[in-house]
């Protein structure tokens, strides 16, 4: 950090002869440097921080827009409801389960893919491009395709393939899945893992390709097995990339709305907090309750974000120190 600042503060600015003049010039210079930053900063504070403060205030109110005359200070009542209401508590658990399982699964599969793509083979660029495709389909569209074209129990592709494979062996009684009603959570997880694996793969691939190869060469000369090299050299190097991918993924998946909304409409225990909050204020008009749930999400995110910031910061410090 200090080196980066040192590289920028150029000699010559301090050359003024009169100390007072110098000081006011310094101050003017500091403002000249800050000025380009201010529009963005002020805009963001107005549009993101201010509303959150309002959310915080509403969360302490008893406010249902359908009975506006009953609006009153409610203390912690809304928070108690969020933490005790079975539906909202379920939503908290669902959010955690969804986030953890999607992040873990997409990280592991993404790591496997990155390791494969790190090797040279014919058509590697094309294979990589194909692998990115799931990440580039508009999320609602992706969820729609999973719901109707792939998982539909009567004409979805997955059951269709099962029927076809079974018919190859002369059977007409192929097993038919109905993930959307039998295991809706699994359906949401599978579709999200499919969308997020490419993201993890891209970050880990970038990590693999920044790996210093000389130590790997040395280890190979010393007769280390590929597994030992992976375990003791590659994995430690990838650690911060795994953390980065996991935590950035977590931040997006905690907020997921599209897949839950489209695939199951929050039914059968798949409503995560964003969806539950959307319903609480949009359909139930419980503004106070929705706000309290929103604050709970933020508290949860702060916990994750603290780790995320630390990870990003460690990578970032390296860059600043170069």
């Amino acid at each position: 950090m200090t080196t980066a600042t040192a590289r920028i503060s150029r000699p010559g600015h301090h050359a003024a002869k009169l100390p007072r003049n110098a000081r006011s010039r310094e101050r003017a210079l500091a403002w000249a440097r800050r000025a380009p930053l201010l529009p963005a900063l002020i805009f963001l504070i107005l549009v993101t921080q201010l509303p959150f403060v309002v959310t915080l205030i509403i969360s302490f109110l008893n406010w249902n827009s359908l009975s506006p005359d009953k609006t009153a200070f409610a203390g912690l009542e809304n928070y108690v409801t969020v933490l005790t209401d079975p539906d909202l508590r379920q939503a908290i658990l669902t959010t955690i389960l969804l986030t953890v399982s999607v992040v873990m699964a997409s990280l592991v599969i993404g790591l496997g893919l990155a390791l494969l793509l790190d090797k040279k083979f014919i058509g590697r660029g094309l294979a990589r491009t194909l692998l990115i495709a799931p990440f580039l389909v508009v999320p609602v569209a992706a969820a729609l395709i999973w719901k109707h074209a792939l998982l539909n129990p009567t004409y979805g592709l997955i059951n269709g393939i099962l029927t076809w494979v079974w018919s190859l062996f002369g059977s007409t009684t192929a097993p038919q899945l109905d993930l959307l009603s039998q295991a809706p959570m699994m359906a949401v997880i599978v579709s999200l893992v499919w969308q997020w694996t490419p993201f993890m793969m891209l970050i880990l691939l970038a990590g693999l390709q920044s790996r210093p190869m000389d130590t790997v060469e040395a280890a190979q000369m010393d007769g280390a097995t590929p597994w030992a090299i992976f375990r003791h050299l590659t994995l430690p190097h990838l650690r911060q990339y795994l953390e980065l991918g996991g935590l950035l993924g977590a931040i997006y998946i905690v907020q997921n709305f599209d897949a839950v909304f489209t695939l199951t409409a929050g039914g059968l225990g798949t409503a995560n907090l964003p969806y539950a909050i959307y319903q609480t204020f949009y359909f139930a008009n419980e503004y106070g309750l929705a706000s309290a749930a929103g604050v709970v999400v933020v508290i949860g995110t702060i916990v994750v974000a603290t780790f995320a910031l630390r990870t990003v910061f460690s990578l970032f410090k390296k860059e600043a120190a170069r």
Binding site: T5, A6, I8, A35, P36, L37, P39, A40, L41, F43, L44, V47, T48, P51, F52, V54, I58, L116, K120, F121, A127, T129, L130, L131, I132, A133, P134, L136, V140, A141, A142, I145, H148, A149, N152, T154, L157, N159, P198, I203, A206, S210, M213, E217, L244, L248, V254, Q255, F257, F261, L273, P274, I277, Y278, A290, G294, V297, T301, E319, A321
Partner: protein
């Protein structure tokens, strides 16, 4: 060494040694490189096809007739037709997707322009001539991105309702700008930081003014990065559903909101759903493939090169 920018640093290390290890890595030192890579290649291709299969199935189904689309087992060899696309564009049903597509384009493009206008000066103030405590400012930007949208959406909705900005594309544009601004600042900062300090100093010594320096020194290095940032902001805005669903309605509804019309399974037309998904994903697919290298850098907030 410490005065070198990342780009210069990389250049400095790409000496003969680095090249030599590069060759080694590809050539001799792997135990049996040919067999190894063939297996890896086969595995990678298999998985790539598996991952791309839903996308390819979506595209294929969109060219099938409704009767061919909804069969079990699937009819891969069915005749291709543009019926689903005709249907989607409202030639037979009368519901046109064009207003929502135009809304999406308007919201995405204008918010991207606004983001650039706000983010470029900010990134300049954070990289080329950094303000004091610039890292703190960076992390403030990032922390706003980490706050879930649901935590601010109710006040935004109430505000929009009070001032009559509900179902107004301009309000959505402002929301998308705030959504993308933090990422854009981070990305752009990392791109501007790649402008070598030596070049800036040389320009200063030669007596070039600020504008000339920006145009001749900074812009050529930073331009590809700015383009990538713009693409990513465009993609995020194009994809967004929650804000659009809550803040817009009939007039300002975007393409993802239009797509939610297909969520319920009643009277479903599979080929039409696929055609809709293809049309609405197309801009993102193009933009994403075009910027796939910069995509990682952007999505990882510039932390990964």
């Amino acid at each position: 060494m410490s005065t070198l920018t990342p780009a210069a640093h990389r250049k400095a290390t790409t000496g003969p040694t680095a090249q030599a290890t590069g060759t080694l890595r590809r050539g001799k030192s792997r135990m049996d490189p040919t067999r190894n890579n063939t297996a890896a290649g086969l595995g990678a291709w298999l998985l790539a096809l598996l991952f791309a299969a839903p996308v390819m199935w979506m595209i294929l189904t969109s060219f099938h007739s409704e009767t061919d689309a909804a069969t079990n087992p699937p009819s891969i060899a069915a005749n291709l037709t543009l019926d689903a696309y005709r249907e989607f564009f409202g030639e037979t049903s009368g519901v046109s997707p064009w207003p929502s597509l135009i809304n999406s384009a308007t919201a995405s493009i204008l918010s991207t322009v606004l983001v650039l206008v706000l983010a470029i000066p900010a990134a300049y103030a954070l990289s080329i001539r950094p303000v004091k405590k610039w890292t703190d400012v960076m992390f403030f930007f990032l922390s706003t991105k980490m706050m879930p949208v649901v935590a601010a959406i109710l006040p935004l909705y109430l505000f929009a309702r009070t001032v009559g900005a509900l179902d107004n594309i301009w309000f959505l544009i402002l929301m998308y700008t705030s959504m993308n601004l933090p990422i854009a600042v981070w990305m752009m900062r990392s791109f501007l930081a790649e402008v070598p300090a030596e070049m800036l100093e040389a320009a200063q010594i030669d007596g070039a003014g600020l504008l000339l320096t920006l145009r001749k020194v900074v812009a050529p290095v930073a331009m590809p990065g700015i383009a990538a940032t713009a693409l990513i902001c465009f993609i995020f805005s194009w994809n967004e559903l929650l804000l659009a669903r809550v803040l817009t309605g009939v007039v300002a509804g975007t393409a993802p909101v239009f797509l939610t019309g297909f969520v319920s399974g009643q009277g479903l037309f599979l080929a039409k759903v696929c055609a809709a998904a293809v049309v609405i994903s197309l801009p993102v697919l193009f933009a994403g493939f075009a910027a796939q290298d910069k995509l990682v850098q952007g999505l990882s907030l510039g932390a990964v090169k």
